[in-house]
Symmetry: C2
Subunit: 235 residues, 2 copies
DNA sequence: CAAAAATCAGCAACCAGCCAGACAGGACTT
DNA sequence: AAGTCCTGTCTGGCTGGTTGCTGATTTTTG
């Protein structure tokens, strides 16, 4: 499978765009009744399946992992949210309150703000620009999630992994001395849970990529030397 | 892989919820400057990659397939949108207009309404309830897309197919004399493109399911006899 | 601060599942 | 009636899942 011609255009939903609305939304949500600013330590749970869905969250710093836990103990990652992502959208849905069905965990140290869905609704009715901004935030979420679906439909694991690494570069990449470093401490297991593979396979494939000189891993942080070259690695 | 205990709760984003907002949104969008009601024949293109993204769409009847076409000629399905889905969200993103990067095709005969993003923005500013409804519509989209990600992370194709069929039941299912019929004419190829597999594999797996007495296929329409039993088919 | 515990990375052997490619017969379209 | 698209089946071959073990690294705890 080869990459689409317009691959780069999918970067349109980049960090820059939502940083603008995200920043403004922060100040707005902070003023709502019942809002709070929370600091969550790495690994701590934000909400659990079964909790009532009544708050909307805006991630300010760090990464949040949404996952589904199966009876077998297996766990899959549904989304890795980056800065300025809106989440807990379930609570926005019409009146009758439902329960969360995902597990939200702080993947890094997290700084986020949240407010009751009711307050958010009021705020929107009071000032329509709030709704517009949230709409843009959610649009970003949709586009990001769709990119992830593209990643997951790649048939061979190698392409899938590469595609995922590029997504991570987009969402969590910071410029490094040589290349781009993904600013997350990723275990092979965590990657496997995100792309529907196994720990062993990820170990092998990352080993391949490293010996090909595409990336470097230092204390669980991956540095991609040349994302463009990596994206060409599709046949 | 086994299904999560809370599987049924993910149905919270069911058709009922968005039918309400969808219906109201229709009348609102119809009144916007530059809005239009379009009928599109099965197989016709709604927008192409590279087209300017300037309109927002609301699907009223039928199904729309969003897909990505690769240079190799391969095509993968990013989303199969059902009634009352909002799409073309890219155009909602901040000012500077970008280009579509997905291919949107009418998967069935489609009835949809659309309006320029600018009109939508104005409408939201004029009446905040419009923003609220669109927000709910998009929230549904996010939840649907995330369910699809769950489907795609199943490791064996059999689970993946079953999970996909259940999603289709949720989104396109109509009660039949015995069981639920998915109201779409699905070729094996189309299914393969949606779950990242191949036509041949889908043929084999559907054959297995049929000989197990789980479903029936009549003129490309699949009827699931007992969705609950099917969901138990995970080991 | 060092010892203990837990988590993680790497390697190997085995084998099932799925893909590729090819072909024939059936169903639908026009 | 011809052509296109779709389904069904087969063979070989390889990817990637599974299991099990070892040493390294990180985190927790006394």
């Amino acid at each position: 499978m080869s990459f689409p011609q317009t691959a780069s255009s999918s970067q349109a939903s980049g960090k820059v765009t939502d940083a603008i609305t995200g920043g403004t939304l922060t100040t707005i949500i902070r003023c709502l009744a019942g809002s709070s600013l929370d600091l969550v330590e790495r690994g701590k749970t934000i909400f659990l399946p079964g909790d009532p869905a009544e708050r909307v969250y805006l991630l300010r710093c760090g990464a949040v992992r949404l996952s589904r836990v199966y009876e077998s103990g297996e766990e899959i990652t549904v989304a890795l949210l980056r800065e300025n992502s809106l989440f807990g959208v379930l609570s926005l849905l019409t009146g009758h309150h439902s329960d969360r069905f995902y597990h939200a965990v702080a993947f890094t140290r997290v700084e986020m703000i949240s407010a009751p869905a009711a307050s958010v609704r009021q705020a929107i009715e009071a000032d329509a620009r709030v709704g517009l901004m949230m709409l843009q935030g959610l649009s970003c979420r949709v586009l990001q999630t769709e990119t992830m679906i593209e990643t997951l439909t790649h048939r061979d694991m190698s392409s899938r992994l590469v595609s995922f690494l590029l997504v991570l570069c987009r969402d969590f990449g910071i410029p490094a001395d040589q290349g781009i470093t993904i600013d997350l401490r990723l275990s092979h297991q965590a990657i496997a849970e995100a792309i529907g593979s196994t720990r062993v396979t990820i170990t092998r494939l990352l080993g391949d990529l490293r010996s090909e000189g595409m990336l470097r891993i230092d204390r669980k942080k991956i540095t991609i030397f040349d994302p463009v070259a990596l994206s060409r690695r599709f046949s």
